[in-house]
Symmetry: C2
Subunit: 426 residues, 2 copies
Amino acid sequence: MTQVFKIAIAGLGTVGGGVVKALAARGDELSRRAGRQLQIAAVSARNKHKLRDFHVSDWTDDPLSLATGRADMVVELIGGDEGIARQLVETALANKKHVVTANKALLAKHGLKLAELAEQNGVTLKFEAAAAGGIPIVKALREGLITYPVAAVKGILNGTCNYILTEMEATGRAFADVLKEAQAKGYAEADPTLDVGGGDTAHKLALLASLAFGTAPNLNAVAVEGIQHITPDDIAFASEFGYRIKLLGVARKLEGKIDQKVHPAMVKVRAALANVSGAANGVLIDAGDAGSFFFSGRGAGEAPTASAVVADIVEAASGGPSSVFGRPAKSLSRLEAADGKQAVSPWYLRFEVLDVPGVLASIAGSLAEAGVSIESMIQRGRAPGEPVAIVMITHETAQAAVERALKAIALSDKVRARPCMIPMES
Amino acid sequence: MTQVFKIAIAGLGTVGGGVVKALAARGDELSRRAGRQLQIAAVSARNKHKLRDFHVSDWTDDPLSLATGRADMVVELIGGDEGIARQLVETALANKKHVVTANKALLAKHGLKLAELAEQNGVTLKFEAAAAGGIPIVKALREGLITYPVAAVKGILNGTCNYILTEMEATGRAFADVLKEAQAKGYAEADPTLDVGGGDTAHKLALLASLAFGTAPNLNAVAVEGIQHITPDDIAFASEFGYRIKLLGVARKLEGKIDQKVHPAMVKVRAALANVSGAANGVLIDAGDAGSFFFSGRGAGEAPTASAVVADIVEAASGGPSSVFGRPAKSLSRLEAADGKQAVSPWYLRFEVLDVPGVLASIAGSLAEAGVSIESMIQRGRAPGEPVAIVMITHETAQAAVERALKAIALSDKVRARPCMIPMES
């Protein structure tokens, strides 16, 4: 084991710091596993002089120089789907350097091209940390659950959203309130759009779908809805029905094609996904004949993410062929997007209406016209003059039909605010 | 991909049949993943003429001939920790053939020697199917959760026991009753000892502990207790306290050594392990700094087990170095067994006593003498003349102290049957 494996790290934020510290603390053990002496040969970060709780030498100011230097591998922890991160990864692969990255946006957008580039150059591109942080779900899908065709992947993939929804349920507080607190505590970004809007979940889902279905990542085919419109009322009603609201990324086969969606969903309180609390992540794989498998754990933060990055480093250093998405890039098929509006489920519907005669009749009429039939209903009075919440659970209905009905209903001047519709997971 | 990878399969029971069928149904897809054309080159089974729902050619009556034939890999699905299975695996490795096996007993007993033999001959020995069936937990421990030292592994690893306990809870019926029914349905073996006595869980635990702690498997150091003595009363009392009884395999660091135990344990109803129902398996890994990770799914049966075996076949065929336990066999340390009796937890205690004055005082006295302090207690009357159940939950106490007290208490002629003690998981 005299052969040295030289690692260049670009980006020394939380995750990069965790990687440096883990390699320092457990270098011998990890080198034994890799069969090669792991060595950090170069690092680069925006601010060389920032106070850090670990020591590095071999600084460079130019991250791109790492891609052409003496390293065997570049660890890209800069982030972003274009710019310097993309340039670094492309140049490193073209220069026959292995790449490990946590960059979900980059891979969701350019995954196929990068996989082709890696294979052409005989190196690997690994991204365990890009989806569900410390949970080894990329490995499980790429190498483990491959024997039978996967039917569906459902995941809680964004810790910020799950933290906010968990807090809303525990305290009854409003979304905006909890978000503000999460920002103050550092659990949510100053600009939370990518998290609460569902975009981050979409990036991760596109990668998991690719691994699960043997398709090239297709981010554009993900229908995305965030959690900003979820109210304490929705969460309370969900609880009455025995459900909990979670932001799910769902990719599944639908009529021979693939349906990819990010949306809030009602999950039965006893279901595994409903019991993923706080900032944790959870993923349910319906692996066809092999049955369903569930994985949960910490999906973000220094150590969980560094755990995944370091595992990738060790694996790449230990050598051997390893295609980026579990099969040759040229055998990845184009993801044919299903018409997701045809997906069928029961729906939770909430209307805020004026307490005047005829409102319920009008709503019920519009639903009937669109072919939506109601399984149960709750109407709850409020203070006089205030709008009244009407909540319905439908029988199994296609999304398109529910949307048609809600569009008609929203036109009524007796209906305040946008009606809310949330699918109920089986 | 013109290079053929020849597979010999020994044993065509449920799992072997599943492997043959999966390779037939998805051979092209799996070959693409492997980068080589997977081909079943030879098979052997006890009864060539048994009616099977799949077709195979290239039969041999002598399984050992597979180890010296033209195959690149031998898949051992015969079972047993000695005899033909051991001979086959050893001969195959010595003849530089990769081996895939689901044989937990063989690996728990001879894992280190077999790993050394594989490495000396430059081939791999893979055993994903040997623990937790379809759950890719061997891979997760061997390659995924390697960055930080693992603190503990806790698993529900035997579907038969979990099925029986789940049924006992659901129906209130006695162990012997539910076992008999499980046997009639084919969920339990005619001789259920290895399952209900905890031995099968011990085999699997020894393998997971080895992967988690970098130690050679040490089956002899596993303290084993089964579920035969669990009564409907225990399950009902557990439920009153907010717990569920599960047979757990637990391996954890204790005073710098490793404590390995198989025993019924009280698990909080909200905990992930408590919600592993029926024949499913579940594993919780405390991966130190990276946090806790939970995995669950089907742990036995044709498709889940074949799923794991086929994944191993594909991985071995795709080449590359892969040490058996995640690091060179010579770097596996000897497992230093902790004194498990020093493990501390709250305990559930149940005594069946005669309803006469002074019994409680005598029990309380013995507990106090051993330094066991009581956190809560339930005493429940029965029909006149029948024994009375006294149930106590202790504060955190070492196992040794509780055992000392119970030994003294059992001497009393007012105490019927053996007192029951079950640790409560935090």
